[in-house]
């Protein structure tokens, strides 16, 4: 009986030992196959609320007027919040009237004492005017989420033009969202130049049909 009782214990010990050895050997084999990198893990800090995060404002057409308000979380659902560009991304560290300068002869005109005629005057309502420009041909329901990144004073042929660097996000519930970066006139809100447009693998074709007599 004793023997009979001990045999299973020995057997089970042996089996357990073999299993442990097998697992250890398996683990050694497995780690030898693909060892984790030996370098000290480099930690990247998890995203924190950013002080330089751009604030988005929504522009919406209501009864022929442009309504402007801080973008809601629903409106921002499909927009990537991002930081303001670093100052090194500005054309120069030279400023005038609190704005970065771009264009010609910047050194000279960074001296506020040097007279600089300007072709426009910043308008506190430039965003509403821009909203009107951006939305007047758009179908009902389309909104614009606007991010203001920087203010510029652009100099060409000895004349200044106040401009705003913006990111325009069209929120279109039907045909999808689009985004680009632009310079806009600080007085009229008119777009002056655009870039950084979305590159889609399968853009929606804009087709034109011929007139038939």
């Amino acid at each position: 009986m004793k023997t009979d009782q001990e045999t299973p214990k020995i057997k089970s010990s042996l089996i357990a030992g073999v299993m442990i050895c097998g697992i250890v050997a398996g683990l050694i084999y497995w780690f030898n196959q693909e060892s984790p990198p030996s370098h000290t893990p480099q930690q990247v800090v998890s995203p924190q609320p950013q002080s330089k995060t751009i604030v988005y404002e929504t522009l919406e057409k209501k009864d022929k007027n442009i309504k402007r308000y801080p973008s809601t979380s629903v409106e921002l659902k499909n927009i990537s919040l991002h930081k303001k560009p670093d100052d090194h991304a500005s054309p120069t560290t030279l400023k005038r009237a609190g704005r970065f300068l771009r264009g010609d002869d910047l050194e000279r005109f960074s001296d506020e004492k040097v007279y600089l005629p300007t072709v426009n005057t910043p308008n506190p309502n430039w965003k509403e005017k821009l909203g009107h420009e951006l939305l007047r041909f758009q179908p009902e329901g389309v909104k614009v989420a606007l991010a203001h990144e920087q203010s510029y004073l652009s100099i060409s042929k000895g004349k200044g033009r106040y401009m705003e660097l913006i990111v325009v996000n069209y929120i279109n519930p039907v045909s999808g969202n689009t985004a680009f970066r632009a310079l806009a006139d600080s007085e009229t809100g008119q777009l002056i130049d655009t870039w950084d447009q979305t590159h889609s693998e399968r853009p929606v074709q804009i087709k034109f049909t011929q007139h038939q007599d």
Partner: protein, 810 residues
């Protein structure tokens, strides 16, 4: 892609999958690595900390089954060995800079979709998720794009530190690199240091995109097969990431110089920059996997939209092979879709195949001639692409921190960084439309760097050998791309761009690259055709304007135009108050295929000031108008600023005293009564004769030159892929009905003032050129066959002038 009938799609799918099957089962380039097909449970605790599992390739390749069902159990294609992902708690990673500069703490991250605010978080510090989950797609995207990002950063760091070495000026350096010295201090190597956000499970049905404005990549899935995600196919992700790094390269110099503006990889639904870029992105995918096609799972299997990158691939139609006579030659194959070889489709992806096939052929040549490994050869091609894009996208105009010009502040490309009167950088107009990337100048630039790096000065950078330039020229020619006469080493500067060192192409190597005289492009004059198409259907135009505006392609539309385009009457004529689309009915009167046709409707230098009144010059090839019809007085002998024969060096911005009398003028003139006769005059002359308030001009009181008819900026250039011999574009690219499909890239948009008196006659003087044109890029009068200088694209000489004359009908 063109519209196909359901039956057509089924037939093509059967053919393609059958062909694919043949390819895979024969162990060809697309040959799969059949897995053991034992499902691997990718559970959290099955991997060590920091690890997860990736699909090592796309499911078609892993399964060896071209017909793999969307519902297939992809866990069968996981390997049991885990993959290192990251020790970070979120799916994000940093990137090293160079030395102590340019490190980016938050370099890239992966999130589910645009609605997700933070990158994926590890579970128990591990990254293993069931293969059907969105989390798995995110980890898969991270792992595969990380591989390319690591390769990219290593390559750029190697170029910056050892190969291109911008901190060492010539003659100590062996060539003038376009890589800027400030690359790392400004983080221009990573678009200014933003975090690239990759959305692995985007709400983007059957699509993927790259958005530079927030530096994001988006990978969608199929509505019909929601379990099939682009993020399961590394070849698709590498293609899309390729767009991202091309955009980064194009803006190395702009970011380093602190410019706010950026160059784009493309500007229209179809343009040659965009088509070359698609081929380059296909090549990026090839550089990672060496396969002869890409997108087997993400594009081919469920959308019939993948592409081969090598003539040996069995997807190709019969008659295409690596044989020098049977390559995917420009321009013959610009509209070729391997799945529908008889169709002609004007699309950047298909047109880009010549580029990808050339680049893979060049890679093989480097492997053979230089005894390079595949990685060495493809890294060399990526090096040349980096230099080419960095120079072509340069908005500073200097091309290098050690410029070819006598003075490094002198522009040698894209005219220069000055601003026009509205504050737009002139160089940006050059990159976008005036002298944009096309098949000629892209491959000329690529060849310049190949020559300077691999051949010039007994270079031994071909793995210890000197790379024979004849190889490159003959290879380019076999793809129809030897369209340039010199390597244009001396750039396009007004003062020294036609002097100095400039290597010439060996003419005997040009056997298949066809050049055609610009005089052979015309308006279709056949009796059954109209020379122009006018589009003015209200719904079409309103939709086009809204779409182009939302995409950021067009900027201003006059406040004189009502927001619902109420004046648009759809009568096929131009009426007061309308926004109209105009397409020239272009005809190729040569015996060869013309390609890369561009029509320009932007302002150019074609008037002369006559006592304070600008008048149209008639000393150009069109000899228009007659002296009795209002032309500017002749220049007499010699040429100086202000004369018709003088082309502005500054795009009309300098004015007095540098360029007195030089300015640009819009394309359209108008007929006015002058006593008993009619004359061609400026639109302001009509306004004065009508006694109209300048406030009512389309551009307002400060812009009276195009008071009545104005091309809309951003829609003031049009592209056409190719025109077959002795036919028109419309007959070259017909749809199923036999008529052409007009896309936005084919159309010029104009706005017409509501105040135009009905019956008024306008004449718009468009400039037209094409890529394989004899005189449009090479200055025939130059004994060295050098290129036109940058400023000359402000004038008439590199173009064919075509007129569009119309009467405004109420």
């Amino acid at each position: 892609m063109g519209i196909k009938s359901p039956q057509h799609i089924i037939l093509i799918t059967v053919l393609v999958t059958g062909t694919l099957h043949g390819c895979l089962s024969s162990g060809g380039q697309g040959g799969g690595r059949k897995s053991s097909e034992v499902a691997v449970q990718n559970s959290t605790m099955s991997v060590p900390e920091g690890y997860g599992r990736l699909l090592q390739d796309n499911p078609i390749i892993l399964s060896g089954n071209v017909n793999l069902e969307a519902t297939a159990d992809l866990s069968k294609y996981l390997r049991s060995t885990p993959d290192f992902i990251t020790y970070n708690n979120n799916l994000m990673e940093s990137c090293e800079g160079s030395g102590t500069q340019g490190s980016i703490e938050s370099c890239y991250e992966v999130r589910k979709d645009r609605a997700t605010a933070l990158p994926l978080t590890a579970v128990s510090k591990r990254w293993a998720f069931p293969v059907t989950t969105s989390e798995f797609a995110q980890v898969n995207a991270f792992g595969h794009i990380k591989k390319y990002i690591d390769r990219y950063h290593n390559l750029i760091r190697d170029l910056y530190t050892y190969k291109a070495n911008p901190n060492t000026p010539p003659p100590l350096n062996f060539y003038e690199t376009a890589i800027p010295r400030a690359l790392y201090t400004t983080k221009a190597q990573w678009y200014g240091g933003q975090s690239l956000v990759i959305y692995a499970d985007c709400d983007l049905p059957g699509n993927a995109n790259f958005t530079p404005s927030d530096f994001t990549l988006c990978f969608g899935s199929y509505t019909e097969y929601p379990q099939v995600k682009m993020a399961q196919d590394p070849s698709v992700m590498h293609h899309e990431f390729g767009h991202g790094i091309s955009q980064v390269m194009m803006n190395f110099r702009n970011i380093a110089a602190g410019l706010p503006e950026r160059s784009n990889i493309s500007y229209a639904f179809y343009d040659e920059a965009g088509s070359i870029q698609e081929g380059v992105a296909d090549y990026y995918s090839y550089a990672m996997n060496g396969r002869s096609r890409f997108g087997e799972w993400g594009l081919i299997r469920f959308a019939n939209a993948g592409r081969p990158v090598d003539e040996n691939d069995t997807l190709h139609a019969p008659g295409i092979s690596r044989n020098v006579e049977e390559r995917l030659r420009y321009p013959d194959y610009l509209t070729y879709d391997s799945s529908e070889p008889t169709a002609t489709i004007e699309d950047v992806h298909y047109a880009g195949q010549t580029t990808s096939h050339f680049l893979t052929a060049f890679t093989r040549d480097l492997q053979e001639t230089c005894s390079m490994t595949f990685t060495q050869a493809s890294d060399t091609v990526l090096y040349l692409l980096t230099e080419s894009y960095a120079e072509l996208g340069d908005l500073t105009g200097t091309a290098s921190d050690h410029s070819a010009g006598a003075n490094i502040s002198e522009a040698t490309i894209n005219l220069g960084s000055g601003l026009d009167s509205s504050g737009v950088r002139i160089s940006k107009d050059w990159v976008m439309k005036v002298a944009p990337i096309n098949y000629r100048n892209f491959f000329q630039k690529f060849a310049k760097y190949a020559y300077q790096i691999l051949n010039k000065g007994s270079s031994t950078r071909c793995n210890g050998f000197n790379y024979p330039l004849d190889n490159l020229e003959k290879l380019l020619d076999s793809y129809g791309l030897l369209l340039f006469k010199t390597y244009n080493e001396n750039g396009g500067n007004a003062n020294n761009g036609n002097s100095g060192t400039n290597k010439q192409v060996t003419a005997a190597n040009r056997l298949k690259s066809v050049l055609i005289s610009k005089n052979l492009i015309k308006l279709d004059s056949s009796t059954d055709s109209s020379p122009f198409f006018v589009f003015d259907k209200r719904a079409d135009i309103l939709s086009a304007v809204a779409n182009l505006q939302a995409r950021g392609n067009i900027t201003q539309i006059s406040s004189q135009i009502p927001s619902q385009l109420d004046y648009n009457n759809g009568n096929g004529e131009i009426s007061p108050g309308e926004v109209v689309g105009i397409a020239l009915n272009l005809y190729n009167d040569s015996n060869s295929t013309m390609a890369g046709v561009e029509v320009l409707a932007n302002d150019w230098d074609h008037t002369k000031d006559d006592g304070g009144v600008p008048k149209p010059c008639n000393s150009f090839e069109d000899a228009w108008p007659l002296s009795t019809e209002g032309a500017a007085p002749s220049d007499g002998s010699g040429s100086s600023a202000g004369a018709c024969q003088w082309t502005t060096r500054t795009n009309g911005t300098a004015g007095a005293p540098t360029e007195t009398g030089e300015s640009l003028h819009p394309v359209c003139f108008v007929q006015v009564r002058d006593g008993g006769t009619t004359k061609w005059a400026t639109q302001d002359a009509l306004r004065i004769s009508q006694n109209q308030d300048p406030n009512k001009c389309l551009g307002g009181t400060t812009n009276r030159k195009d008071c009545y008819i104005r091309a809309i900026r951003g829609a003031d250039f049009a592209w056409y892929s190719k025109i077959n011999p002795k036919t028109s574009w419309g007959k070259t690219v017909p749809d199923e009905s036999g008529s052409p499909t007009f896309n936005s890239n084919n159309i010029l948009l104009f706005e017409a003032s509501p105040d135009i008196p009905p019956g008024t006659v306008f004449d718009c003087r468009f400039r037209v050129r094409f890529t394989n044109c004899t005189e449009c890029f090479t200055k025939q009068t130059d004994s060295n066959e050098d290129d036109w200088l940058d400023y000359e694209y402000s004038g008439p000489l590199p173009f064919k002038i075509l007129h569009f004359q119309f009467t405004v009908i109420d």
